[in-house]
Subunit: 345 residues, 2 copies
């Protein structure tokens, strides 16, 4: 028998990209299909996926081109990070029951190359954290803040999407570094949550007085703005940036569903003028840039903080792969509350 | 007698800011007046100005606020760098006839604090170079390129206003560093000039096919864009920037006379998207930031290059302070050809 465990499944449930979205995705852009469970080849293992990570960058992959990585083709399985249980180690170093970090996408089973897996130790932290605070989002926050943001003690750090898996780590690391952490979230429940994480100030961008609230929250201006969102939040931040402020540009979730640029006037020149007059550093990055240089120190610094509870995280877990499309669409609207994961049942 | 040399002048000719310009300045924004030659106080000397530097940043000083330095007040003498002859050393280390670099503005005489002067050695290079290739513009090019642009051998560096005192140094230093230097200028005469300086490619932004010309000139994309201009040149450059490209933002002369942002759509979000997708670094700077750290190495590297002729420069010298306003207005339109200086007769 090829599949020693679990034996009850006979098919692989997959979510395919059915069509490319125009603007905001709908569930019709996805298709749930059943296919045969694949067999591992040489240097491959068979995995049963346990958690699927849903992340904003996936929206870019749904477009035909223009993102920073190859698009998902129509009819292909949607990509994504996964935590998986080894079903068939196929003679490799991995044994059935081992839990691994993988990148096998929106499906319940997958084969993966042995070299693409990292074994997870459930005694360090819940294995789901390998997709969040101790995974790509946490690493994104860590690398972008330490390499580009570089907050000094007493400086003011602002981050939006601050209850999410990147923003919540940015704010907590900034606070631990002795900076003032100002978080921007959507809704009073998220405000309370990030206040509980130790953010010095929490602001609701849905407030009618948001721009004024932000101004009042940063009496000494903004030294680091960690950009996850773009749009109206960037508009409010830009005039408050201090001389020599640093802006790690990590994501622009407010713009991912845009089909055309907003109406004018064209403020590109005004932004360049601010960059010039204030000697700003605006620096885009993908976490992958820093993997070779920062992975070791990331684990060395972050694991003790997570284990001790000094650095906290929140997960928003959706059950069942068939619910992934709706959860993903909601995430792009800010409806998730914490790191969005799909638990594959 | 207070004024041992020259004794023929009895008045100080000054150019005042008469009114703040709306958009492009006109000569009516300036007023030429005659005033008494001032007397030096304690730790001051009396100077006769020999050369006045005209630079784009002065446009910002004419506005009421919002630039990176205090505005010139209406009725005050316009600011500016000067090369001056000491008339009365007033007991200081400076003797009559000494030539110094000073910052005394648009006037024929001035008193200056002894501590604000640097003695110039005419045997190293013509003293006018202290306002150009061996002065603030040359230093701006040197610091912005070496600290922010950081071109590697074989990379492509693009600079606009490339026949000017900053751009011409950027391109030559890039070429000397083994990078491909692509210069953008206005008009065929300037094209020929920068080709003679060793730029690998020279482009005329007045050409109807400028965007296509630029694309053809950078078959491997752009790794460093040294931004002096903004506007349509930035629009043409942005799509051609490579991953990890660096953009030192040094000036935006195309926008200085703008009274309102141009018509839409608003492409701010598209620019942020490019910054994110390509991991760009866009970094504004003023040369003053690097004075404490880079002055010594600037002179050590640049003086031999200028003396040997390996690094060349061109000056555009206007005679007579009364012609400074028209020359300055023309410079903002790109009418100068080389470092614009006023020789005070």
């Amino acid at each position: 028998m090829d599949l020693p465990h679990p034996s009850r499944d006979r098919t692989n449930t997959q979510v395919l990209l059915a069509s490319r979205p125009e603007g905001e995705p709908t569930t019709s852009n996805f298709q749930v299909v059943q296919n045969a469970i694949p067999a591992p080849g040489h240097d491959e293992v068979l995995l049963r996926n346990v958690f699927l990570s849903l992340d904003p960058y996936m929206r870019g992959r749904m477009n035909a081109a223009g993102s920073y990585a190859a698009p998902v083709q129509v009819g292909e399985v949607m990509v994504g990070g996964t935590v998986s249980e080894v079903v068939n180690g196929n003679g490799s170093e991995f044994l059935p029951g081992d839990i691994v970090l993988s990148y096998t996408g929106w499906q319940t089973y997958a084969v993966a190359a042995v070299g693409d897996l990292r074994r997870l130790d459930p005694t360090i932290a819940p294995v789901s954290t390998a997709l969040g605070v101790l995974g790509m989002p946490g690493f994104t926050a860590y690398a972008g803040l330490s390499e580009i943001g570089r907050p000094a003690r007493g400086e003011t750090v602002v981050v939006a999407a601050a209850s999410g898996p990147v923003g919540s780590v940015v704010g907590q690391l900034a606070h631990l570094a002795g900076a003032r952490a100002v978080g921007i979230v959507g809704g009073p429940e998220k405000v309370r949550f990030i206040e509980g994480l130790g953010f010095d100030t929490a602001l609701d961008h849905r407030s009618a007085s948001f721009s004024e609230d932000l101004k009042a929250a940063v009496p000494e201006g903004i030294d680091v703005y960690f950009e996850n969102v773009g749009g109206k939040i960037w508009d409010a931040v830009l005039p408050l940036l201090n001389e020599y402020a640093r802006v790690p540009v990590c994501g622009l979730v407010a713009t991912y569903n845009n089909t055309a640029p907003p109406a004018g006037p064209d403020r590109t020149g005004l932004m360049m003028t601010s960059i010039l007059r204030k000697s700003l550093t605006v620096r885009g990055f993908l976490q992958s840039e820093f993997v070779p240089t920062h992975t070791e120190r990331f684990f060395a610094e972050m694991m003790p903080l997570v284990r001790s509870g000094a650095l906290r995280y929140r997960e928003d877990i959706v059950e069942g792969l068939e619910n992934a499309p709706a959860a993903f669409i909601g995430m792009l609207r800010g409806e998730n509350f914490g790191k969005l994961l799909v638990k594959l049942t």
